[in-house]
């Protein structure tokens, strides 16, 4: 295995991770809810009393993050370089998959693993394996 030392960014990775952990801890300790993005977003599609406003506020914070970040520093390069036709399929799979799987990188990955949930560990190992394999096929088998 060859390490990409040019792009490896351990300091910002850990720092960003700490912020993500802080945000997830804050949501459970103050609002009492799991910071799982797919669940928070998906829950809006079947709105129930008392279940709309906090979700919209959380997602609003997420969408506002780049604008707030820009007040302090220039945004790092973050563009989707994958071709247009791939995006609807990928988005659809992410949407359906995270709802059936009851979580994504945040809900299962950050919150579930922090809770030492076996279910989340199984989900994380499954979606990581599927993603590793997908990238292997698109980049090295199909020569994408």
């Amino acid at each position: 295995m060859l390490i990409d030392s040019l792009h490896f960014s351990p300091v910002s990775a850990v720092l960003g991770g700490l912020l993500i952990g802080l945000a997830a801890s804050g949501l459970i300790l103050f609002v009492g809810r799991i910071a799982g993005i797919s669940g928070i977003l998906g829950g809006l599609l079947r709105p129930r009393r008392g279940e709309v406003a906090w979700r919209v506020a959380f997602l609003g914070g997420l969408v506002t993050a780049p604008a707030v970040y820009q007040v302090v520093a220039a945004l790092p390069d973050a563009r989707i370089q994958v071709a247009w036709p791939v995006l609807p399929l990928a988005g659809l799979l992410v949407g359906v998959g995270t709802r059936y799987g009851a979580g994504c990188t945040s809900g299962h990955g950050v919150c579930g693993l922090s809770r030492l949930s076996r279910r989340s560990l199984a989900a994380v190992m499954t979606f990581m394996a599927a993603a590793f394999l997908t990238v292997f096929i698109t980049r090295h088998v199909l020569g994408h």
Binding site: L6, S12, L19, V82, V94, G101, V110, R119
Partner: protein
């Protein structure tokens, strides 16, 4: 207060994703590409997040009410099932095709990226499909 803390949590989460490099799909794909030049950064993002999360969730488990007096809702312990695994497989394929998962999708939509909006629209459609099939 609930809305303020929810907003602040989303904001800090999003800034964390940007700082971590998770909002850059090319960097995510660099992590997912084990057979190419591998960028291990995202493993450290998870390590950092879980280090703080272990403390936060341990504390949360010892309480029934949040600091703001709301019920703390932790998912009940359940076994594994086919939906969890098959759903995670579909999610993993979509993530591997794009390098985008739900959190970064919303952050990227916040940058005004048209590609992110296309992805996000399809993602919400996928979630809607789940609601149609399952409810």
């Amino acid at each position: 207060m609930t809305l303020l803390f929810s907003f602040a949590s989303g904001l800090v989460f999003g800034i964390g994703l940007i700082v971590a490099g998770m909002a850059d799909p090319s960097k995510v794909l660099g992590f997912l590409d084990l057979a190419g030049l591998w960028d291990p950064s995202l493993a450290l993002v998870m390590a950092g997040a879980i280090t703080v999360g272990l403390g936060g969730f341990t504390l949360a488990r010892s309480r029934t009410r949040s600091v703001l007096g709301l019920p703390i809702r932790l998912p009940p312990a359940r076994g594994l099932d086919r939906r969890l695994i098959l759903g995670s497989v579909l999610f993993g394929i979509g993530w591997g095709l794009s390098g985008v998962c739900p959190g970064p999708a919303l952050v990227l939509m916040g940058t005004g990226s048209a590609k992110a909006w296309l992805f996000g629209t399809a993602m919400v459609a996928g979630m809607g499909l789940f609601e149609l099939l399952e409810r």
